[in-house]
């Protein structure tokens, strides 16, 4: 599928492929049809994490490397990160040379005086590390925003600005890549959904890296990710279920957060958590009924997650249909809604 090579403004036309898992049907729609595809009483849950400029050019003992933050860690100054050798986003991640070998206690220096100490190196790959920045709190965030730029991949046409990777409702800066289903949800669309009687609620989920270029590491994705379910959202999910409304997740990260927070009866425990939940074929969602997401190639982890909501054969048909019809892929591309009509 052709990737969308550049961000489109929120008001630009976007296609939406409606995948109905009950009838086994596909329908070509547009994003502005979303309100009529949902029912009054449904609840749309979005990921309101803002996107951090998580790619940091650094140096260790004079050798350049790129640090891609993968997710926030145990304390505000600690992050999990994936390291790359010299190069830029214009190269495919699998073509990047390895970084210099790091050991716990090593110091990485970034632009503007920011530095980080290596706390741990993963036994799975020397490229997966835990870091602690030397700055903290009110000093760390401005330094991080000065030193970093958005994580991006080689199919894009040019360097992204920070505003390109923000959803219209981004709040706490936890995501290292844009929670991309939210990029299509403009403020105007949120208002249309509310007018339709669809309720809205946020969770925060620290959306992680989608690719590292190293098969051993990619097999670990998504890494354990932080999330936070506000008490209002837990109540909104319970209320939707009580009135017979459906809970629709805007993005795979929202599925993971809600399902991780849900008990066996589908009731959510509010509050922060870390999830290593893997959703795939055979997983029976307990709280989420449907999913708004991008168009994902069979075999990818996102496709696997979709298979918890629709038969894999139907999803493969959907992908090939979208490809043939010229839908665009990746984070700035078109979307699909997997939900019974």
């Amino acid at each position: 599928m052709t990737p969308a090579a550049w961000p489109r403004p929120g008001s630009a036309p976007r296609r939406l492929l409606h995948v109905d898992p009950v009838r086994g049907a596909l329908a070509d729609r547009r994003i502005e049809d979303l309100p009529e595809l949902l029912r009054p009483g449904d609840l749309l849950v979005v990921n309101d994490a803002a996107t951090v400029p998580a790619s940091l050019a650094g140096a260790i003992r004079g050798s350049p490397l790129e640090v891609r933050l993968a997710g926030p860690g145990a304390s505000p100054a600690e992050w999990t990160a994936v390291l790359f050798g010299p190069g830029t986003w214009r190269q495919r991640t699998e073509d990047r040379p390895p970084p210099p070998e790091l050991r716990p206690g090593d110091r990485i220096d970034f632009a503007g005086g920011l530095a980080a100490e290596v706390l741990r190196v993963s036994p799975v790959s020397p490229r997966l590390v835990e870091l602690r920045f030397t700055a903290a709190g009110g000093d760390l965030w401005p330094a991080l925003y000065r030193a970093g730029r958005p994580v991006q991949y080689s199919y894009l046409a040019g360097p992204l600005a920070l505003w390109h990777v923000q959803t219209p409702f981004g709040s706490r800066p936890w995501a290292v890549e844009a929670p991309s289903a939210g990029l299509v949800l403009t403020v105007g669309l949120l208002q249309s959904l509310r007018r339709r009687g669809v309720r809205l609620a946020p969770v925060a989920h620290a959306a992680g890296l989608s690719s590292t270029g190293e098969p051993r590491l990619d097999a670990l994705l998504p890494l354990p990710e932080r999330y936070d379910v506000p008490p209002e959202t837990a109540r909104a999910v319970a209320a939707a279920r009580a009135r017979g409304g459906r809970v629709v997740a805007a993005g795979t990260t929202v599925v993971r957060a809600i399902e991780a927070a849900a008990g066996s009866g589908g009731r959510l425990t509010a509050g922060p958590g870390v999830t290593d939940l893997r959703v795939g074929p055979g997983y029976r969602p307990v709280a989420v009924d449907g999913l708004l997401t991008g168009l994902h190639e069979p075999g990818t982890s996102h496709f696997q997650l979709e298979a918890a909501f629709a038969p894999p054969a139907l999803l493969e048909d959907a992908f090939h249909h979208a490809d043939k019809e010229g839908y665009l892929g990746h984070e700035f591309g078109d979307v699909s809604l997997i939900l019974a009509a």
């Binding site: 965030w141 401005p142 219209p168 706490r172 800066p173 403020v187 949120l190 946020p202």
Partner: protein
Amino acid sequence: MRIGGAAALVTGGSRGLGAALGGELARRGARVVLVARGGEPLERAAAAIRAAGGEAHALVADVADKEAVYPLVGAATALVGPIDLLVHNASALGPVPLRPLAETECEDLSAVLEANLVGPFRLTKAVVGSMVLRGAGLVLGVSSDAAVTGYPGWGAYGVSKAGLDHLARTWAAELAGTGVHFLSVDPGEMDTLMHAQAMPEADRSALADPRAVAGRIADIVENAESFASGSRLEAASWRSAG
């Protein structure tokens, strides 16, 4: 809105009304982020709030700089949580002594509009979606008498403040029913550095203390829902005006 527990972002927070309002909001229980271009007076203002037992953070940013908006909102939200109250207080006068429009350079007008109008627009845009999603929030613009009366020499500033008022009206119309509220407040003439730069000959004893004005604006914030969204209020008289 309830100030206790709210996350507030106040631009122009290093001195004058911004510092006083940040202090008053923190005294009433808000978690406050003060924003200004200059590091040292800004840090002093935040430290004074903390010394008085309040929560305050200082972030250095120029609201006229497009690149600064998301780093500012991201850092602020990381520190105090999703923003409930956004106060557009930072203002540029343009070159002083103030000069008539016929002698105002186009670039100077542009710079004033960037700081007082376009910057607040960008900042609102970066914050308002989260407020819409949560169904609550207040965006308060600090306006001026010069927004409604054409005073000689105050052209660039007055135009920018008239624009800021109208932004609030238009946001209010577009986001009616979302729970997000917009207000403009004319604080009146205050004994501040900006006032001294604009009118060095003024009798300071006749000017209001910014701390007293901050108290009235905090009262307006607490009663925000009683005013129609998009309203323009005068800090000095809102009590009697209801």
